[in-house]
Symmetry: C2
DNA sequence: ACAGGCTCTGACCGATCGGTCAGCTAGCGT
DNA sequence: ACGCTAGCTGACCGATCGGTCAGAGCCTGT
């Protein structure tokens, strides 16, 4: 009787890039919930159904994986900010910007949550620094130079609150409260109201 | 010439409990910024100026350290909620509750940030589960049964936004924006405004 | 002077970390 | 039939992880 060790059974085809996408998605979930430092390549591999070596075949390192996972979100955020800066500020352009931003939050909730809550501890990683610079520019754009403490709190509350509510809040307060169609208008209403008093560039005083 | 290895130089007195407090404070900073899973006992020991063995002398395990670090904050939050539940709801009691809550956020920002952003990944650890239950009760109390999606978003935004703004936001948007005396009234105004439309228990409809 | 406890430490443990490497297998062009 | 490459893997590396343990140094009571 031959031992016949284990029969490798080398998985169905898995046409190249789908594997990479699976790994990216799995890694993102882990990074957002356990943190980058708290996530091991073994965990990602196990959760996605591959070996640790496979993860390192598709991505040069753990940090490169983080980069590839976050870059699309950062690119998108940058595009939104540039588009806003390219137009002169008005109630209309501002409203369009808030709309863009809500769409961004809904589409990239996990990415946002990841670099919002870990940018201090991951300083030095290029994609994280890029995101950090963007957020500072975002803050400076919405509440510029002379903005009051209250204005800055409004912005921070909207940003951090949205990231929390759509990730942590939804999965442990009320599991998946509602579908996107219901969340979007509610989020838009609350954030618009929250940011309404923050001064517009061309109208310096509000109080 | 005797080798005279290194001269241990056994630290100044450090009267017992002060060491434990130093370690707690250091550990809290690390847990809040790098995450519990991402913080090693060695890091905590180094940052506090002790050896890893010392940390494990004062605390039975890494998890026990987390417990001791978070418990005071959870106790305080529980007391605030109980006090609120013990009175019949009115505009006055609600306002007092929001005041208590703001004080809590300001005093325990790091603790709040820690269990707000890591409660999913640390599920199973008693103090984390306690905090999780409290937050759900808090949410159910403020926006009970029939609350709309928008109301729940208002609560989540206030909670997660405050935790973010006072920790991550302040240390990388604008380093220590302002002293507590300036932050408190601003935070109070914004959060009061944010939660204002959320229904009060005795007045079921608002729209 | 001595005993005993409190604080703190280095040496050490098995497990796991991120990462390297040689090699296996399936599919494809020729 | 052949070799080549892409996708994937286990074995292995040094470093670090959380945790144990046997003391060393100090203070205090007697």
């Amino acid at each position: 009787m031959t031992p016949e060790p284990v029969l490798p059974q080398p998985q169905p085809p898995h046409n190249r890039q789908s594997t990479s996408l699976e790994l990216r998605a799995t890694a993102l979930e882990q990074f957002a919930s356990v943190g980058f430092a708290g996530t091991s390549l073994q965990q990602i591999a196990d959760a996605a159904g591959y070996s640790k070596s496979s993860v390192l075949y598709h991505f040069a390192s753990k940090e490169a994986l983080l980069d590839e996972v976050l870059t699309p979100a950062v690119d998108r955020l940058e595009a939104i900010l540039e588009r806003f800066l390219a137009t002169e500020e008005s109630a209309l352009s501002r409203s369009r910007f808030v709309n863009d931003f809500i769409d961004f939050i809904l589409e990239f909730r996990l990415e946002l949550h990841t670099f919002i809550n870990q940018s201090q501890s991951l300083r030095g990683i290029p994609v994280i620094d890029r995101a950090g610079v963007l957020i500072v520019r975002l803050s400076d754009t919405l509440c510029h130079g002379d903005a009051s403490t209250e204005d800055r709190i409004r912005f921070g509350l909207a940003l951090g609150g949205a990231a929390y509510t759509l990730v942590a809040g939804m999965t442990f307060l009320g599991e998946e409260i509602a579908p996107v169609e219901e969340i979007r208008p509610a989020l838009l209403a609350v954030i618009t109201e929250l940011l309404a008093p923050v001064t517009v560039r061309t109208a310096p005083s509000r109080k």
